[in-house]
Amino acid sequence: MTEAITGGGVAVKINEEYCSRCSICRSLCPFEAITKDAEAGKVVLDIEKCQVCGICYSACPARAIDTIYYDLDSLINYLKKAKSKYGSQALIIMCKGSAPDFAEVEGLFGVSNFIPLSVPCVGRISDEMFLKAIEMGISEIYVLACDEDYCRFERGSPLAGRRILALNRLLEQLGYGKEAITLKRNSLKVKVDKDLCISCGNCVFYCPYHAPRLESEEGISVDLDACKGCGLCIVMCPAFALELENWERERISALIPGLLAEMKPPKLLVFRCQWAFFPPLDGKLSPNIRVIDLPCAARVDTIHILGALQKGADGVLVVACSEDDCKQEKAGGKAQRLVAKLNERLSQIGFQDRLHFCSIAPRDPEQWDKELRQFRQKIEAISEGKRK
């Protein structure tokens, strides 16, 4: 199928033949998706609870866990290609949840040319992967992880920290210097423009974390320690007084024309919660589909949806993660309401069925392919109808 973004298959599975029954995966899984069957003595994965963080995959000492996303082989393949493409021996591994744009990443580590590797969680990068990279001649490795309490997979960022600490000791003994792998932490948070704030209190009401406060005449103040960067307040702010670092309105707006220009009709623009599905590492997509990442579906903005339709998108798909997986206090539901409201308005001007909302979990790649296929068929039918 041309529109398939994932290759399909089972997202994560435990290969019983190799499993040594050590239970490390069970103890690390943040979502209690892995249990031990006391009678049979084996570990069992409940895929319905799995959020495909990859932590178990990275930690299994027996390599008994398989995943279709960013497994060791595809990461190594990516590295091989990227090494010659970027002509660099510096690798920066970034957690999608906390990485600002590449220019800022550059500044953060003081590296001018690097191989970027964005993954849904740095906790899924195994010891082996780090060592393979060094073996391949990567001389500098930098890791940008989220702050520990900001980690979308709860245990991914702390695990990455411990892993790098241990690896650095090992590498030091092997003669690779003291800090062979550099770890930095970063979290993307809300920014307030007090001059634009109209003190309406929308952000105070909508924030799931009680981060904004409206207590004085001076407008809003935000407790940045409480902010988890979902972006809901930004789309609820009627005055454009709030922005989310790296997900600024203008930055997202600026992506739209370029993406639409490289697409072929029917042009389907996808606004994706970063944890709803994982696109392939090489970034190769069908020419009908382009994806704009969001920190959470809650950041989806009517301005951007309408901007895409104005600039020639045939359809816009908003993809939230499944409600059970939501890393942001059920914020996907807010996005669904926003889309429903906007759809009501779009149908008043003859643009019904052009905007679709769905919830997807990365554990179910087939569901995503199905949603995409159905939406495409709907849009094609509309275009057909117009031509007739």
Partner: protein, 213 residues
């Protein structure tokens, strides 16, 4: 706040159809939901898309006013934008378009909103309640902070009427009887004597109150 609802977009498209250059003026004031710069921009995008469908190529400018009910603030926000504008589309309550029309008597000013009432917002439940009708003769001190003029279906000053059943209004069994609510509140406050006080017919002249210079 003032509770408003956006007019159906085809109605707005009809209103603006004779014009090409249109200024959409948001209002940061008390309209609920807030109709500031975001709403102005969203509306411009929707109308542009809808216009294209109808073979019209509208050109929009968008801006917002701190409160469109203030002549000074509205003039200072809109005047710098007005050149070349053929019509103003206001996102304020019914006051806004009237204010703009007064400021720019040669330019048609069109309402984008239907204005409903002065409301109390229960955010958790997502509901807006009409609890005050601006009668100009407030008796809330006597009624435990519950307004019978607005909330009693019959607007009684000396209730209850006797038609309530199980605490519900005989006009609408979904609604609480306002006078029963008042009774309970006064009982709680230890001010049941208030209920005995006769409230004479309201002073309707108060509604004709005007700001005198």
């Amino acid at each position: 706040m003032i509770v408003t609802a956006l007019k159906p977009l085809d109605e707005i498209l009809e209103l603006i159809s004779p014009y090409s250059h249109i200024l959409i003026a948001g209002c940061d004031g008390c309209t609920q939901p807030p109709r500031g710069i975001r709403e102005a921009r969203t509306l411009s995008q929707l109308l542009e898309l809808g216009g294209k469908r109808r073979g019209k190529d509208f050109k929009f400018k968008v801006t917002t006013v701190v409160k469109q009910c203030d002549s000074v603030l509205t003039a200072s926000a809109l005047k710098p934008q007005i050149e070349g504008v053929e019509a103003v589309l206001s996102l304020a309550c019914g006051i806004g378009p009237q204010m703009a029309a007064e400021l720019f008597p040669d330019i048609p000013v069109l309402p984008a909103q239907n204005t409903h009432f002065m409301g109390e917002e229960k955010r958790e439940e997502g509901i807006l309640l009409e609890n005050c009708s601006a009668c100009g003769d407030c008796i809330l001190a006597l009624t435990g902070g519950i307004c019978p003029v607005t909330r009693c279906a019959k607007g009684l000053l000396n209730g209850a009427c006797g038609g309530a059943r199980n605490g519900k209004c005989e006009m609408n069994p979904e609604r609480d009887c306002t006078w029963e609510l008042i009774f309970e509140r006064l009982e709680r406050l230890g001010k049941l004597d208030n209920i005995k006080e006769f409230r004479p017919p309201r002073n309707y002249q108060a509604k004709a109150w005007r700001l005198t210079p």
